[in-house]
């Protein structure tokens, strides 16, 4: 298996730089095609816009509206004002889901960023065999979260790999029914998600590291900087834009995390691994409480709002 070697990362990193250069040099408004777009050209924009409107924008507006109603899908929806929202404050499952989502965000987000950066630094230099190592770390990224979850369900069985590894390193006392115990179910499910995310974050950081001018390191060495100082004062500042990308990617991915938990515990046992996303799905499609389900979806939207806006602001600058 030969994967993800040097060259594969190059075009990657070259693109945004190139696009920025042209944008700056040429000025966006000058000399693009004829002044007035023909009807055909307008249709080129309007048809995709229509598709997205029907499947995204209009449903999104409706989602906000449904969150203001009581609706079980049988009777017509009745307007409830902010009833569903005030219900959240007294709902212990909502509080638990919020808490678990926060834990997920911090652990899954923090560890995948740290792990991804660590692996990228470790595997950054082009040398013999490097493609194989990178491929091994990257391979899980292409699996679906559901298939990943089922693999780990087997590994988490009482006589499975996880317990086997623990006893082989002398930690037999830690053996556990990881997914069935309400004190470990959430954390046990972060592991497969991490196993899959770290390779992805690594790829983002590898591209970022490749973009750093080697002259900066040379200069730092001349000044007698230690490896740690080079990391602190050259690598980290240079990775600032990639860090921003990674931050939005992991926050959006955390809030979207659904598949692993839905496949393994459906939020159980006793809501101990309930995430906002699983609680929303359960409320809407298992308990058919559509109004409250949509209100929970709006809560997820509110949490994601800051990230969405900052992502769009960066996109705005880039499309200049």
């Amino acid at each position: 298996m030969t994967v993800a070697s040097t060259n594969s990362v190059t075009p990657t990193n070259a693109r945004p730089v190139a696009s920025r250069a042209t944008g700056r040099g040429r000025g966006p408004k000058r000399s693009w095609g004829p002044g007035r777009p023909s009807p055909l050209v307008l249709a080129f924009v309007l048809v995709p816009l229509l598709v997205e409107s029907v499947s995204v924008f209009w449903p999104a507006v409706q989602g906000f509206y449904i969150s203001l109603t009581n609706w079980n899908g049988v009777n017509p929806p009745s307007f409830a004002g902010f009833g569903n929202y005030s219900k959240m404050f007294g709902d212990p499952v909502f509080r638990k889901a919020l808490e678990d989502t926060a834990i997920w965000l911090v652990l899954f987000g923090g560890l995948s960023a740290a792990g991804g950066l660590g692996c990228a630094l470790f595997l950054q230099r082009e040398r013999r065999g490097i493609a194989v190592y990178r491929a091994a770390l990257f391979l899980p990224v292409v699996f679906s979260l559901t298939a990943t979850a089922l693999m780990w369900q087997t590994l988490y069985q009482p006589n499975g790999m996880v317990n086997g590894l623990l006893s082989s390193i002398g930690l037999g006392g830690w053996q556990h029914a990881w997914l069935a115990d309400s004190s470990t179910a959430l954390y046990a499910q972060i592991v497969p998600a991490l196993w899959r995310e770290i390779g992805y974050v690594m790829v983002l950081y590898l591209a970022g590291l490749k973009g750093i001018d080697p002259a900066l390191y040379e200069a730092a060495k001349v000044d007698g900087a230690s490896a740690w100082q080079q990391f602190r004062n050259v690598t980290l500042p240079q990775l600032r834009s990639v860090n921003a990308v990674v931050l939005s990617v992991i926050i959006i991915d955390s809030l979207r995390s659904f598949d692993v938990v839905w496949a393994l515990t459906q939020g159980g046992p006793y809501n101990s691994s309930q995430l906002l996303s699983t609680y929303m799905y359960q409320t809407a499609f298992v308990n058919t409480d559509f109004g409250y389900g949509c209100a929970l979806a709006v809560a997820i939207f509110v949490l994601a709002f800051g990230v969405i806006v900052s992502y769009l602001v960066r996109a705005f600058k880039e499309s200049d």
Binding site: V3, A4, N7, S8, P11, N13, A18, S19, T22, W32, P34, P37, V41, F44, V45, P48, L49, V51, E52, V54, S55, V56, W58, P59, G63, C119, R127, A136, L137, L139, P140, V142, F143, S144, T146, A147, L150, Q153, T154, L155, G160, Y200, V203, S248, I252, F258, D259, A263, L276, M280, A284, F290, A297, I300, F301, I308, Y311, L312, A315, S319
Partner: protein
């Protein structure tokens, strides 16, 4: 000199251990998927194989419905990817090469739609598809997968197309080429690397998706691979070998796409990263 040598050895030892640790779950699942039920129950999940039972794969394939599920996934993913690239590149072409009113607003609006948490759309989409009489149909799933991803592809592709020099287009227009010809004959071929990268990515995302299929479909025989895996899990409770075989079957298509288009795939992941 020997320090350098030692460091190289140290690196390869560390990297090998890390890679093996990462690969160990996959290796174990592959081994389990070929062991017989008696072997797994009798000798434990971690034991070396005492049997060879490729029958697990046929159990998952026909009994567990993975065959039908793969067909359904192909029916959804192939047209969804092609239409996404077509619609995305059309919009990107117009938005990057012409002075469309509210150009930047439109780009950001479309990208914003892609960044919404899908949860906010689930109930309305399920309801809307009932109103149109399209609930529980693969067509709805295709439309939703296209619509939800589109903003991202438009954004990336218009960024890519802006790097194509305007002179090429102007020369073609002077020669009497129509907008459609400029799009189809000139800009699209030059956009091929980005299209390949996004295509590989889009296929993986759509193929691996769970949330949309379980929201708009109810009939078991219409389910694509990912939800079908969950019903396989319910059907073969504690048959870890069959479940392992099913997971392997579900992973093969995306691994194949990755291995075939790995360069594009990695490039695609980075294309999406807004700096």
């Amino acid at each position: 000199m020997s320090t350098k040598r030692l460091r190289t050895i140290g690196f390869h030892t560390g990297a090998s251990v890390l890679s093996l640790l990462w690969f160990l779950p996959i290796a174990l699942i592959l081994v389990i998927s070929f062991r017989s039920t008696d072997d797994v129950l009798g000798n434990g999940l971690n034991a070396l194989p005492h049997s060879f039972a490729p029958g697990n794969y046929s159990a998952a394939w026909s009994g567990g419905g993975m065959q039908q599920a793969l067909i359904n996934s192909a029916i959804v993913a192939v047209p969804a990817v092609l239409l996404t690239l077509l619609l995305g590149s059309m919009a990107a072409f117009a938005l990057s090469r012409y002075r469309i009113p509210f150009r930047r607003t439109l780009i950001l609006l479309m990208l914003g739609g892609n960044l919404l948490p899908p949860q906010i759309l689930l109930v309305p989409v399920a309801k809307l598809s009932q109103v149109f009489g399209l609930y529980d149909s693969l067509a709805t799933l295709i439309v939703v997968e296209i619509g939800f991803g589109l903003g991202f592809y438009v954004f990336v592709l218009q960024g890519f197309m802006r790097t194509i020099p305007g002179e090429i287009q102007q020369a073609a227009l002077l020669d009497g080429a129509s907008a459609w010809q400029v799009y189809f004959r000139i800009v699209l071929p030059l956009t091929r690397p980005a299209l390949a990268a996004l295509g590989a990515l889009a296929f993986t995302w759509i193929f691996n998706d769970l949330l949309w299929p379980i929201t708009v479909l109810i009939t078991q025989s219409k389910m694509p691979v990912t939800p079908a895996l969950l019903s396989l899990q319910g059907q073969f409770v504690s048959y870890w070998n069959v479940i392992a075989a099913g997971s392997v079957i579900a992973a093969i298509p995306t691994v194949a796409v990755f291995l075939r288009f790995q360069k594009h795939f990695i490039a695609g992941l980075n294309l999406g990263a807004v700096k």
